[in-house]
Amino acid sequence: MDADSVGEVEGRSPFDRRLAVLLGIAAVVASLLATAQVGFDRQAGQASSRATRLATRLFEGLTGTGLLTSFQFGSLLQANEGALASSARQVASFDHPDVAEVELAIGKASETASLRALKLAGEMGSAPAASTGLDPHTLSVLTRTTRQLQADVAEQGALVDRAQRFSARSDRVVFALSLLAISGVLLGLAAVMKEGQPGRVSLWSAAAILVLSVLVGGSAFLV
């Protein structure tokens, strides 16, 4: 006795049994697709959020270290200018013997002062130490090295790519769920129309779209 005749013996037509089986399968496919969609959406959202935060941290690091470096160069330049001017004053004093003694003394004192200023510029322009009590976040902003910034750039790019990949997967699963919804509507239509040509057309169309939904959902893992 084949399955169809068993169904008839049991009081259910093959049409009813196919409809029941398709409804059940549609429910299972729906739960699987929903689980996949939530998972992909989670991965995309998580990566997107981390990428945006990392971009912010990157700009913060670039700006912070840039401001520190700018001060460092500015103060070193200023101290160097003083040292050069005092050396030039001492050299020039030899051509003016009437003021040479005074200018030489001023030049020497100025040169010593410039060397001390250079040391001060180096000290003030170096990144703060942890012993200053500066909070760890600001400390990390000011002490980021070029290598660390480059690593952040690479990680940020990878996170953006990951967010885009999982977002594409999520979109694909949403499309599969939309197809599944159409399949569900056609199954409902078949249930209303009962047996007969319109009912059978609805049922087989629903089955075909259900298969398509599974294929589209499965293809999301290949994106």
């Binding site: 912010t56 912070g64 520190l68």
Partner: protein, 203 residues
């Protein structure tokens, strides 16, 4: 089948709420990161652009005054007078600059080598922004991650519910196997309920 649909709706609804909360927390983490970064950069700019250059000029004048006075001590006559004039001119410059940057005269920031601790000045300037220091975008992100993972598990718990629906549909199509299918469906629903409860309990 109706019970399975109701259970799926309940678990799905809970998962949707969790997922929404997770998205909110991720958005909040980004906003917090931007807020903290803006405050940090502005504070660094204030110290290294507005204060430190003036402090450096003030201390530079102090150093020059010190060196000219020291040289004057070893000189005499006109040379000594010229060196003292230079020292006094730098004293005047220092005094004038100190009016704009009082920190330059604060002994607390002076280092043992006579330098200036800009890091300590930056730390002090941040001390009045404790609320900004307390912001922790990383912690907010992790809370979002946890809720999102929980939402994913809750949605996965609807798979046994869907199986229960399938068994219910099959029981409808195959009445002779109804008892076995109903038992299987009930078992699947029990697994779904237990899974949902376990996910909530361990969250």
């Amino acid at each position: 089948m109706a019970t399975a649909a109701l259970l799926a709706a309940l678990i799905g609804g809970r998962a949707a709420l969790l997922s929404s909360s997770a998205s909110d927390l991720w958005g909040k983490a980004v906003r917090e990161q931007v807020k903290k970064a803006a405050a940090t950069v502005e504070q660094i700019r204030y110290i290294y652009v507005d204060r430190a250059p003036l402090i450096f000029r003030t201390l530079g004048a102090e150093i020059r005054s010190d060196e000219f006075r020291s040289a004057a001590g070893r000189a005499s006559g006109l040379v000594r007078s010229h060196l003292l004039v230079e020292a006094e001119a730098n004293d005047a410059l220092r005094e004038s600059l100190l009016g704009a940057v009082e920190e330059a005269g604060d002994e607390r920031y002076r280092t043992p080598t006579g330098g200036f601790d800009v890091g300590l000045l930056l730390a002090d300037s941040f001390a009045s922004y404790q609320d900004l220091l307390a912001i922790d975008p990383g912690a907010t992100q992790l809370r979002g991650d946890r809720l999102s993972r929980q939402a994913g598990l809750e949605v996965a718990a609807t798979i046994p519910v869907a199986l229960a629906f399938l068994f219910g549909a099959l029981a409808h199509g195959y009445p002779r196997r109804r008892r076995g299918l109903l038992v299987a469906g009930t078992g699947a629903m029990a697994i779904a309920v237990l899974a949902a409860v376990a996910i909530e309990a361990t969250a």
